[in-house]
């Protein structure tokens, strides 16, 4: 079997099948992927992990020669650089963690490797997952492989770009306020932000832990479900996990929801509106009851998200003082002001702004902003739950527009409206490419399988 035949084939179950069958070695696939990663012109990778990839590929080949079948044999994996990988530097694209090499793997990553995945590199991102253009990395910008003049999105920019450029078969991103769904949407890929608590966060460097989830970015819905089904399941190291969820079906069937709400926020581009309309028409032609719906509390949902994520970031980033995981000259730390100066060198402007917002939310007017945001988040969750009493799935755009030039819409701050609900409420949401744009589907907590089925239906009927 030729390597091109493998690389041009999208489906990871096919690749895994031929590797398990011994028709091609994991080593050969991984060498090609590594070469492509090293030649990458989009800035997808912070670290290409040649040594670790080859030893992982050899382990897979050895296991197979010993008659062991692996569910993800030889599948090349790119990992966002905020997911801990033992012995491999994990930077969060920040100067603060420039020299941080964890001694432990993230549980989700560890499970993929055990299933036969080969890690080819750590991907570029917006610093500490704060950003939506892939332009805020200490290691340079990420470009969109479909058109290098455009953004790949963010913050999981490199994870989307690496899969879109077919360097890696699949990748892991993280999603706190759309950070996986949005770049997947802009790079014509699939990404599911599962129900909060489905996938262990152990080893995911925190940004806003009440909302963070690790998410796969893949070419197809089925691949996405396969990856999640390997990563999910109880992990005693993450006490925030839910134990009451149905397992993900790794081969989702195409199925339409009975009732759907259609939400199109103001300010969407024609291409985006068109894609969502077309998708909802397709659903209703096939028998779904579709009607316009409004997400609750749209006037302040983004504010609540900004306040809470910034507060949590302020807390989680408090540990980075520039003295532990950075090559600061510690002999210069003599007093609190020199310590402050060293910490100041840790973070880029965006991170600092969010930390300042977090600090303000926790101090101005007796922390009124924080306390109000906590209450409003509960309100939004209750009202969203009520919405899902009525609709099985809500269909909406992933992003307001398709990919654009760096900084083109810099002054717009409500770009995340349709993305943040899934994070504020813990509900699952998936972005699927459809009709030249991307469509997002959201369901009630625990309804991840229903989302995969609806997404599969759209994917199967995408022309």
């Amino acid at each position: 079997m030729s390597i091109d035949a493998v690389n041009n084939h999208n489906s990871i179950d096919y690749v895994s099948e031929v590797v398990n069958g011994g028709q091609i070695s994991a080593r050969e696939i991984c060498e090609t992927a590594l070469n492509n990663a090293e030649k990458d012109i989009c800035g997808s990778f912070i670290t290409v992990t040649r040594r670790e990839a080859i030893s992982a590929a050899d382990r897979v080949d050895k296991a197979i020669s010993n008659g062991i079948r692996l569910p993800l044999a030889g599948i090349t994996l790119a990992v966002k650089d905020n997911i801990c990988t033992a012995g491999i530097r994990t930077t969060c694209a920040s100067a603060a963690l420039e020299y941080f090499v964890p001694s432990y793997d993230a549980t989700a990553y560890e499970r993929l490797i055990a299933a036969g995945c080969v890690p080819i590199g750590k991907t570029n991102m917006d610093e500490f997952a704060m950003g939506s253009e892939g332009s805020l990395s200490h290691f340079g910008i990420t470009r969109n492989p479909l058109n290098p003049d455009l953004i790949a999105g963010g913050s999981s920019s490199g994870s989307a770009a690496a899969v879109s450029a077919k360097i890696a078969s699949v990748s892991l991103g993280s999603d706190t306020g759309g950070s996986s769904r949005q770049p997947a949407g802009l790079c014509a890929l699939v990404s599911m932000k599962p129900t909060y608590g489905r996938i262990s966060r152990q080893g995911l460097v925190e940004f806003a832990p009440s909302m963070d989830q690790i998410c796969p970015i893949t070419h197809t819905v089925k691949e996405n479900a396969m990856i999640i089904s390997v990563m999910e399941g109880a992990d005693f190291k993450d006490l925030s996990m839910r134990r009451d969820l149905d397992m993900i079906n790794p081969t989702p069937e195409s199925k339409i929801p009975e009732r759907m709400g259609v939400f199109i926020p103001t300010g969407c581009s024609a291409a985006v509106v068109n894609a969502v309309r077309k998708a909802s028409m397709l659903f209703s032609e096939s028998g779904s009851e579709c009607e316009p719906a409004e997400l609750p509390e749209q006037s302040y949902a983004v504010c609540v998200y900004n306040a809470l994520s910034s507060v949590e970031a302020l807390s989680c980033l408090a540990r980075y003082d520039g003295m532990k995981y950075k090559s600061a000259d510690l002999s210069s730390v003599k007093d609190i002001s020199s310590a402050r100066e060293i910490r100041g060198q840790c973070f880029g402007k965006e991170v600092k702004e969010r930390l300042a917002l977090g600090a303000a939310a926790l101090s101005v007017n007796d922390a009124a902003l924080y306390r109000t945001a906590v209450d409003l988040r509960k309100k939004i969750a209750v009202e969203t739950d009520a919405l899902f009493e009525k609709y099985k799935v809500i269909i909406m755009p992933t992003t307001k527009r398709t990919s654009y030039r760096f900084g083109q819409y810099y002054n717009e701050d409500d770009a995340d409206l349709n993305l943040v609900y899934a994070n504020l409420t813990g509900c699952p949401a998936i972005s699927v490419p459809f009709a030249g744009a991307s469509v997002q589907l959201m369901a009630a907590r625990g309804e991840d399988n229903a989302l995969y089925s609806a997404a599969k239906f759209l994917e199967d009927n995408n022309s």
Binding site: Y104, Q202, L239, E312, S315, A318, S363
Partner: protein, 486 residues
């Protein structure tokens, strides 16, 4: 030292915050050992070092001990309590925040009765919450070293209402609190090792005034004696400040062990300074009736109950009962001895225990077993050995664990109460002391004491003194009677 109740017409108003390290095997949020005194940084892992991406686990034993502390101090346990993050920047705190319970503590609204000068006082416990300890910084030759062995060890913080009015009361309260936690098996409460630490809030006001003045907090006092000295110093300092027309600033102060003064560290933090947030990585602690019942069932008997049992059932003096309850080990030893002793020898068990065994137990020296103590007490009560012999036997059985009666025989420590035998010794004594005999015959009956003494000497103190007295008297009475008849 003498504790002051008021100074120039001003009284102190005192509340304390006591930090107690829980007696768990592992730390609160990881599986590292919580042992004290290991070499620096022997007990650390990525979780307690706060490394990126790590998440806390939860030590169920710590929750149980914290809940037990609440029950021992008469608190209500919250059915649902949560963890929060308290942020501050210091090198002993690797995460930049401490996991604690700010918004919803585990225990609320308790109270502790304690005694001062024979009268009972009550201090209200406002709250008890569970949190983690920080590491320790060690300064040496101008360099600072960090030891994270204690970092993440489980602590409870016990906060009282401002219910104490003198250093004496505060000291008695903390001592009673310490003893309660010790007996409830919650902590080893060693102030010198830092497993019990005390912050004190103190303000002053004119006697009779109801409203509270501005208060200062004195941090990290590590002995009960220092607690009293710090309060007395503050009473005088704050009163003098007020009398000289100044205002007391709400601030955090440090007690100097060298000269007994306090000095300003910083303005007192407000909750806003700590930027409290919810801890999203830990589930709420749920406590139901069954959980509480299980804790109550396994709760050791507290010293208060023991003291009343000793006084009411065993008839001991209150002071003695309190001495016996100086530590759980002491009370347990005593209970074992009592359980093997007949009722009539219990007071002897108590007095021998307090006088002879307890001082050694306190110094962690080897002591006779409780069984031997009860045997020796019985021998004494039955009149088979003297008090001196009992003490001697206690010393010997601490090294040689053999039945006390055998040992007493072997060493010839049993009392001689046989009249014929004693009268023989009297004759020996009379022969050896002609001068005393002469004195007696001249009517100086006091000289009989010399003969009694001589008999005791001959028998190495084993002769029963009352019988010796009788036999000596009998001997000379006979002589005198004979003399009269002549």
């Amino acid at each position: 030292m003498t504790e002051i109740k008021s100074y120039k017409g001003y009284e102190p108003v005192i509340g304390v915050e006591v930090h107690v390290e829980l007696k768990t095997i592992t730390k609160a949020f990881c599986s590292c050992s919580a042992k004290y005194g290991d070499i620096p940084n022997a007990n650390v892992c990525p979780i307690c070092l706060g490394m990126p991406g790590t998440m806390p686990s939860l030590n169920q034993e710590a929750i149980k001990l914290a809940a037990a502390a609440g029950l021992a101090l008469g608190c209500e346990l919250s059915p649902v309590s949560r963890f929060d993050r308290k942020h501050y920047y210091y090198s002993d705190l690797p995460k930049g925040y401490q996991i604690t319970q700010y918004y919803s503590p585990l225990c609320r609204d308790g109270l502790l009765r304690y005694e001062v000068g024979g009268s009972e006082k009550i201090a209200r416990i406002t709250r008890i919450h569970l949190e983690e300890d920080a590491g320790r910084l060690i300064n040496r030759n101008g360099e600072t070293f960090a030891d994270y062995n204690r970092c993440g060890a489980p602590l409870i913080e016990i906060v009282t209402a401002p219910d104490m009015r003198s250093s004496e009361e505060a000291m008695a309260f903390v001592e009673e609190l310490r003893r309660t936690l010790l007996f409830a098996g919650i902590s080893d409460c060693k102030m010198n090792e830092g497993s019990l630490r005390c912050d004190v809030n103190i303000s002053v006001r004119p006697l009779g005034e109801e409203t509270l003045g501005a208060r200062c907090e004195i941090k990290n006092i590590n002995s009960i004696n220092y607690l009293g000295r710090a309060i007395d110093y503050e009473l005088v300092r704050q009163t003098e400040e007020i009398l000289s027309g100044k205002e007391i600033s709400t601030e955090t102060r440090r007690f100097s062990e060298d000269d007994g003064t306090t000095e300003r560290m910083r303005d007192k933090e407000t909750p806003l300074d700590y930027r409290y947030t919810i801890e999203p990585n830990l589930p709420p602690i749920i406590i139901d009736k069954n959980y509480i019942n299980d804790i109550l069932k396994s709760m050791p008997t507290l010293h208060r109950e023991r003291i009343s049992r000793y006084t009411e059932k065993l008839g001991l003096r209150r002071e003695d009962a309190k001495l016996i309850c100086c530590s759980p080990e002491s009370a347990e030893y005593f209970d074992l001895a009592v359980s093997q002793a007949p009722m009539e020898s219990i007071k002897t068990v108590a007095s021998l225990y307090i006088g002879e065994v307890l001082p050694l137990l306190r110094e962690k020296k080897s002591v006779a077993s409780p069984k031997r103590l009860s045997e020796i007490s019985s021998l004494y009560v039955k009149g088979r050995i003297t008090a001196a012999a009992a003490k001697k036997l206690l010393v010997i059985t601490s090294e040689r664990d053999v039945p006390a009666s055998e040992l007493a025989e072997e060493l010839g420590l049993t009392i001689i109460s046989d009249r014929d035998e004693i009268s023989q010794y009297v004759l020996e004594a009379v022969e050896a002391n002609p001068k005393a005999v002469a004195d007696i015959s001249r009517g100086k009956t006091q000289a009989m004491k010399a003969i009694v003494g001589a008999v005791m000497k001959i028998t190495s103190g084993r002769a029963e003194p009352s019988i010796v007295n009788e036999e000596v008297k009998k001997h000379f009475d006979k002589k005198i009677d004979l003399g009269k008849e002549k």
